[in-house]
Structure formats: structure tokens, C-alpha cells
Symmetry: C2
Subunit: 181 residues, 2 copies
């Protein structure tokens, strides 16, 4: 690969990773091109030689965010499914550079975006359900557990009362727990 092509690819990747992190934390409207490019160590003008629009960036950032979140979740624990669920529910306690779950954090952001974006989000969600299903071996239970865990994480992000937050997460862990590993 020629040097400048490689350079372009790396720049694009930096933009994408910055976007994945920022969009998940602040939502589509909370992030400007400036913010993303600053975090990627470039200026706004350079953005448009990599992406057509902010929408396109968001579209591509969602699976990147999903991939990074899954990687970090699996790195932080053993192979036990119950431990994994516990870590998922407590993801907000992780390091500052932890990539939170885009399914939960963008859940009411996605509805306002265009159909292509929604379909991409839907695929990430479907992968999440499949992952649970591979452990519980019952699709209906997997769907309900997915809703519970995603709902719990999304709600936890809204709550200011720490004891209520802890109570909610513990309740959801208990309600979805006790599969064999």
C-alpha cells in the first residue's frame, strides 16, 4: 500500500474512532464536526475529504462503536456469561476510555435518523440478541433479556440518585441471572 493511501486510511480511522466515542456519549446533536476533528487532531476542513456528511459519519461510527464496546467487554472478564452480564450492566464504572454500548446509549437517538442508519443500528442489535441466544438457547428469553439489559443501562445513565441506580442494576442482574456457563 502506498504511503499516502495508508496515511489517508489512518486519518479516516482516527476520525471514525473519535466519532464512535463522542456520538455514544453525547448523541448525534451533541457532537459537532469540530469536536470530532479536534479529537482526531485535525481541523474541520479536512473532514469532507473522508466523509460526505455528518450523517454518513454517524452511520459508519455505530458499528465501530459496537465493535469496540464488545471487545472491551470481553477483554474485561472471564468466559462466564453471568460475569459478562454483570460487566455489561456496570459498564459505566469502567475506565474513562471505555467505549459504552451504543445500543443502549443511542436508543432514543436512532429514531430521529434516516432509514439507512436505523437499519445499521438494527443489525448491531440483532447481533447482540444472537450473542445472548447462543448462551441461553431460547430466542424469546434472549430477546427479553436483551431488552432488560439495554433498558437497564439506558436508564442507569439517566439517574442521578446513585442508590436507585445500584438498586435497579442489581434487580436486573438478578432477573436475568443464573444460566449455566
Amino acid at each position: 500500500m502506498p504511503w499516502d493511501t495508508n496515511h489517508k486510511h489512518k486519518s479516516r480511522q482516527r476520525i471514525l474512532e473519535a466519532a464512535a466515542q463522542l456520538f455514544v456519549v453525547r448523541g448525534f446533536d451533541g457532537v459537532g464536526i469540530d469536536d470530532v476533528m479536534q479529537q482526531a487532531n485535525m481541523t474541520r476542513g479536512a473532514f469532507y475529504s473522508h466523509f460526505k456528511s455528518k450523517s454518513e459519519l454517524y452511520h459508519e461510527a455505530i458499528p465501530v462503536a459496537g465493535f469496540i464496546a464488545k471487545e472491551q467487554l470481553e477483554a474485561g472478564c472471564s468466559n462466564s456469561f453471568n460475569v459478562l452480564k454483570h460487566n455489561y450492566l456496570n459498564q459505566h464504572k469502567g475506565d474513562d476510555d471505555t467505549q459504552l454500548c451504543p445500543i443502549a446509549l443511542l436508543i432514543s437517538d436512532i429514531r430521529h435518523r434516516d432509514p439507512a442508519i436505523r437499519e445499521t443500528y438494527e443489525k448491531v442489535f440483532a447481533g447482540f440478541v444472537e450473542y445472548i441466544n447462543s448462551h441461553v438457547n431460547e430466542r424469546s428469553a434472549a430477546l427479553a433479556q436483551a431488552a432488560t439489559m439495554i433498558g437497564a443501562v439506558a436508564l442507569a445513565q439517566t439517574l442521578t440518585d446513585e442508590s436507585l441506580k445500584a438498586e435497579l442494576l442489581a434487580a436486573c442482574e438478578a432477573a436475568t441471572g443464573c444460566e449455566q456457563d
Copy 2:
């Protein structure tokens, strides 16, 4: 009450109800003062004799939206708790003028707002949990059911695949079902 005071009160109420509906459907950033005032049959200039800012309006609109949603939910069904849960999960199928649940639809919008707004949202959520708790009589189960139902409705709003949406809602209904009425 003097006529003009009553008139002011009615105008304020119209603004509040328009805001409750629009914010829940489109989120904070998706709604302009213009949109709200147009739906309330006024123009933008009049807004600021009723509210200090868009943020203040949003703050006040959340409990209004919660109240209207609860009213409509209870009107549409018998006293059975299982029927109520079914109707909650299928609220998107209601009339066009149905007020959807602000807890579910604003779930990832709230995090970006100021603390006063988050606390108000939290109180509406706490009321939701209390309501469930009065039927299941076990707080941990009530919290988990709340997360499942809210998560399910929020997810359903994101999905474009109708069969996946139906499958998800049915799974969550089954998982939270079977309390005595």
C-alpha cells in the same frame, strides 16, 4: 379568576400540551420553539411571556407528558394489570393523538439535559416503578419489569423490521407476565 388571567393560563396550558407531545416524539433537539407555538396556535414571540427558555419548557413538559400518557393508558383498558402491560408494550399502535411514554422515548435524551430536568425525569420514573410495585409487591421484580418494559418500548421505536419488533414485544410480555390481577 379574571378573564385575562384565565386566558393566560389557557395559553400556557396549550403550549405545555403541544410541547409534551412534540418533545416525546422528536426529542429536545428535534423541536423548535416555532414548532411548539405553531401547534399551540401562536407565534414565536409570545412564547417568552410564558417560559424563560426552551429548557424550562422541556422541564415542565416531562411530567405533563407522563400524566397524559398514564391517563390514556388507563382509559384504554380494564383494570387488569396484564392487559395494562400489554397496552403499554403496544402503545405505538394507538391513535395518532396518543401520548407515548416519555420515560421510554426520552430515555437517551435526558442524559444530555441539566440536573433539574434529570431529577424531574427521575421522579416520573420512580412513580412508574411504584405503580408496578403496587401490583407485584416485590421491589426488585418491579424494577426489573420496569427496565424490561421501558427498554422494549424504546427498542421497538428504533426497529424498522416489523416482525422483529413484534417478536421482541411478545417476548417481553411473556417474560413479565402472569401476575394475579
